[in-house]
Amino acid sequence: MNELPAADILDTLPHGSMILDDENKITFANRWVLKNLNLKEADIAGKNIKELVSNSDWIMEKLAFAREQRSSLVLSQRLHSYFIPIKLPESHLSGHEFMQQEVVIVPIKKTKGWLHITIRDVTSVVVGDSKLKALYHQLEEGKEKAESEVLRKSAFLAMMSHDIRTPMNGVLGYADLLSTTELTDPQKMYLDVIRSSGNMLLHLVSEILDFSKIEAGKLKIDPELFTIRRAVREVIDIFVPEAKIKSLSLVVDIDESVPVHFFQDKLRFKQIITNLLSNAVKFTTKGYVMIRIRCVNEVDEGKARLNVEIKDTGPGISKEAQENIFKEFVQTGQSTSKAAGTGLGLTICRKLCQLMEGEIELESEEGKGSNFKFHIRCSLNEIIPILSK
């Protein structure tokens, strides 16, 4: 190793390499240094480094310290910018006048105060770094702006939804009162249209209100002890007339493992089932729609998990549509007239499940029906005292 031509090796480095004697005279400068300073070897040999460096007093002090302490020293770009001023072309993308450098000063062992200096060009790193930071800050600003826009939009929607619901309840209430009076057949028909259109509008507004609450993080769950079978029955009853008209079987299968009571938000639980049953009944033209409920005790976690499936023999949902089905404003490929709605129902269902410590998923194949499965949880402690009674 000792016989290898060290100078030739140092010449191949992509960094600057210089050797100083104990009086700071340059005894060697590699090709990189000569090229960047536009000097010949004869011009630089024996020259004192003080004549080349910027901030010479500080540098001389550092060199003396390195020599005295026999310590390797680092001179960072951030704190020194550069060691030797090497002018960059005016057209240089960096905008810096001089090449930005990082320098390491290493005392050479077995010599009396000789130093090896390595100079690394970090101009492109500095430029990349500052551009990266600028982009990062732009992204941060954009994110903050977008978040505040979402909050403002949600607040606006919530307010508007509330303002629409109030007069709409008035319209529906008076339509109900009007229906108790004596009306001609055409008047009864007009009134039915007013009531069904009003109810549809009210439902759409409710979904928008729920969604805007979700986006604004204001949707809260209000758990209470409720009777599962009764809650399911109340929802099923809504769909019996429509199922009868379409000659669909409505099957309810509640396993023995299901306790009488559950401790969760009853209204939100009913809302999920209503939404899923509504879709199932709406899109199924023959066969059946089934709701199946099981309960599993997760003793280790101290939780009871209620598993609910809403299965139908409808048209099914394509794999492509399944990927986005729980995303907001997405409707499956069924005809627009049948699928009238905001496209928010399943998004709301998923969020409600998550708020009730659960999740929702879909199994479906085109032409073979759909099976929406969801679960919610409650603390076992809340229902065990009831079970033991």
């Binding site: 310590s71 020293l73 770009q77 951030r78 704190l79 930071k133």
Partner: protein, 204 residues
């Protein structure tokens, strides 16, 4: 493992005094470099053997930045400055001033922290060497963004002893905590203690 390592209180005080002078010089150097008022508090010192609680505690300082510099010759060991990542970033920002302030710890900030660690380690170990007449040679300092790995490898070296100096760096009015660690073999550590004793306590 922390049992069996008993350092006389007066020797411990002498060690702190030497360390204090060293890091005082480092603070002065930093002040001039950053053109800001830099103060370093008088360190507290703990001596520990590997696998001791003190070393385990350092490993919990995550995510951390570690600057290390090995020294050889009369005594051999490693000097380390360990900072938590937020502290390192804050320090870089304080040193560089508001115009460079950023919450990203890029390569350029790492360079500045490497230089800062270099100055502090050299201040500490260099002063120790000067005052105790040791001749040392220092390798090129290195920065590690996952400092815990280095502590692990130092810990695995058989018979290592650690002098852990906890101190506060204040730049202008802001404070950042850091730990300076000197790791040496038991044999070299005893050389230091003996030298402290012979130079400063032999007449008592």
């Amino acid at each position: 493992m922390s049992t069996g390592l008993h350092i006389d209180e007066s020797l411990k005080e002498a060690f702190i005094e030497i360390a204090n002078i060293g890091i005082g010089k480092a603070a002065d150097s930093l002040s001039r470099l950053a053109q800001k008022h830099v103060q370093i508090s008088v360190p507290t010192i703990k001596f520990a053997q590997n696998e001791s609680e003190e070393i385990e505690m350092l490993k919990n300082l995550e995510p951390s930045v570690l600057i290390e510099q090995e020294f050889t010759d009369d005594i051999n060991g490693t000097g380390c400055l360990i900072l938590n990542s937020n502290g390192a970033l804050k320090l870089a920002q304080l040193l560089l001033g508001g115009k460079h302030a950023s919450d990203l710890f890029g390569e350029i900030e790492q360079g500045a922290i490497l230089e800062l660690g270099n100055i502090m380690i050299c201040g500490l170990i260099g002063n120790l060497a000067n005052m105790l007449d040791f001749e040392l040679y220092y390798n090129v300092p290195e920065i590690q963004l996952s400092g815990v790995n280095k502590i692990d490898s130092l810990q695995k070296s058989e018979g290592s002893l650690f002098a852990i100096l906890e101190c506060q760096l204040s730049i202008d009015v802001e404070e950042v905590s850091g730990s300076l660690i000197i790791s040496m073999s038991t044999e070299d550590f005893m050389k230091v203690i003996e030298r402290v004793h012979s130079k400063y306590f032999s007449n008592q």
